[in-house]
Amino acid sequence: IILYDIRCFSVRAVSVFNVLRSLSAASHGLTDEQKEFQKVAFDFAANEMAPHMAEWDQKEIFPVETMRKAAQLGFGGIYVQPDVGGSGLSRLDTSIIFEALSTGCVSTTAYISIHNMCAWMIDSYGNKEQREKFCPDLCSMEKFASYCLTEPGSGSDAASLLTSAQRKGDHYILNGSKAFISGGGDTDVYVVMCRTGGKGPKGISFGKKEKKVGWNSQPTRAVIFEDCAVPVANRLGEEGQGFNIAMKGLNGGRINIASCSLGAAHASVQLARDHLLVRKQFGETLSNNQFLQFKLAEMATKLVASRLLIREAAQALQEDRPDAVAICSMAKLFATDECFNICNQALQMHGGYGYLKDYAVQQFVRDIRVHQILEGTNEVMRMIISRNLLSES
């Protein structure tokens, strides 16, 4: 290949993330269709997201246009039914797509996954009018969504939430506040978990935009309800069904968040590998150092293990297997922990350079650190798994 051709392609960002052979376990065992989905997602991540990931992080930009481009490809409602604008794909297809997108920007992909979760909840539990009113705009990302469960006083103990909804005629009046809402203040549709029965003041307002260690391409704010009137027609499902719906949404959400961790780890291993082949100390490249070779091997092994567990969980959820909840929790627990360690070790392998914001690896570390906390802390994951195990006897 003559060199001038490579310069011609400077127009398109060079994607190194999908080249590594042993880690192309990313495409092993996939159907032809899934390989095509993955290819589109990797290309989109490399061309549309990766070049901007540092800027979105530093300037805290919520990349509306890029996300709408993603929605045009069908990424706005991946597992939403096609009759309301979704792509109608499986949980496994979704996991593959988010894993690939995450190599471009974890924070933005994580937000897209939250948006997808909300769209799915309305698609699955909404009535005909609700589905037709909300889903098409969400699938095209004409409107963006936020998932509001956590409150200042109830995080892991979600069932103790206090936001109340008091019925007045054909409206519910909401009072209370939600904390750490991704997209809060910049999104259009809020899926709010609240307690029917309550009291209250006026409307919906937002707290200050939080300053975070990572996830900076999406705004996080408290959402405050004061006598906020919401039409009864906007209630998803029956009264009292809310907690159930919220938890079902989270099962898929956990697979998605774990998939985002996977993408970051995949990208970090490639970055570490490339660095080891280039950086020289003591007269030879770092790749000749046995400790680093072994470390890289361990990282790759944990990556593949995480990927297999996530894909198994996606299958289980798709098939509605009895172990689906437990295995989704296991996948989230294992993958988010292991992938964070992988990214962290990749940073270590970069030495001092890894600590500089000029290098992407630190952003992967910062962005996925929160995956061990949200969508159910990894401690809560252990609660769910142990409860599942102990109740079987």
Binding site: I1, N18, L73
Partner: protein, 277 residues
């Protein structure tokens, strides 16, 4: 006018891959290496799909010559908006010998069979950089050619073309049917959308052709050249190198930018083998 466009798509090693030479030096490692559609072929597919969207042509048919895996490349073309795919099955030794002349013959035969109005190709493939297939196909069909196209517009039964040439931009007008080869700035290929991928794979319209099949294309795939290593020589003085260079310069054999002259000089007696690629 059938309104049918044939687009040639080639499966090549992905441009981001680091190429490695095989241990036996017969070529590059392709096993297990990521392959994708030649970038210039992507641009050609995009142009064809755009013409169809403007309703200037009726059908886009993607063609690929190669082994079973070439069907992946056709699939990508279908996902981008092509209507049909034709896989000309060439495997094994035949595939190793498949070069521009053979592909041009196949494309010419297919163009006649499909009654194509236009053939769109990438200007060159990034693995061999031959930049010959478009030109040869046009010659075999005796059709006009518009190569290195950076702008294409159809005007009735003629095509207005802007070509990127060494001196700048050339504007030409050619008749149809014609062969056009796409250059980098012709367009920016679209991403396949999830619905398109699903539709294209469900319909799965890929015909299989074998080049020597009697009812099919009747194209002979005769290898054009063979690469051999020079025999091992005994030791001796290295005079032949300087002598050879002198002879070459005297004969006025200029070195053009597009041709590669490979010398394989044995050290010692007058045993030199000259190969031109």
């Amino acid at each position: 006018m059938s309104g049918r466009v044939l687009v040639g798509v080639k499966r090549v090693i992905d441009y981001a891959v680091k190429i490695r030479v095989k241990p036996d030096n017969t070529g590059v490692v392709t096993d297990g290496v990521k392959h994708s559609m030649n970038p210039f072929c992507e641009i050609a597919v995009e142009e064809a799909v755009k013409l169809k969207e403007k309703k200037l042509i009726k059908e886009v048919v993607a063609v690929s010559c190669g082994p079973q895996q070439s069907q992946e490349t056709i699939r990508t073309a279908l996902a981008m908006g092509a209507d049909r795919g034709i896989h000309v099955d060439v495997s094994g030794k035949d595939y190793e010998n498949l070069g521009p002349l053979q592909v041009s013959k196949i494309l010419a035969a297919l163009a006649k069979q499909e009654d194509a109005q236009l053939i769109l190709l990438g200007k060159q493939a990034i693995d061999d950089d031959c930049n010959q297939t478009g030109q040869m196909t046009a010659a075999l069909l005796d059709w006009p050619q518009g190569t290195f196209a950076s702008e294409v517009s159809l005007e009735g039964d003629k095509i207005n073309l802007v070509r990127e040439i060494d001196g700048g931009l050339e504007h030409i007008k050619i008749n149809t049917p014609a062969v056009i080869t796409a250059d980098l700035r012709l367009n920016t290929p679209r991403y396949a959308t999830l619905p398109n991928i699903m539709d294209s794979l469900m319909n799965n319209e890929t015909e299989l052709h074998k080049p020597n099949h009697r009812t099919s294309l009747c194209v002979g795939l005769i290898p054009l050249f063979e690469t051999v290593a020079p025999e091992d020589m005994q030791g001796g003085t290295d005079r032949s190198g300087a002598m050879l260079r002198h002879t070459v310069l005297q004969s006025g054999l200029g070195l053009h930018t597009r041709s590669l002259v490979v010398f394989s000089i044995g050290i010692g007696k007058n045993k030199t083998k000259l190969g031109t690629v």
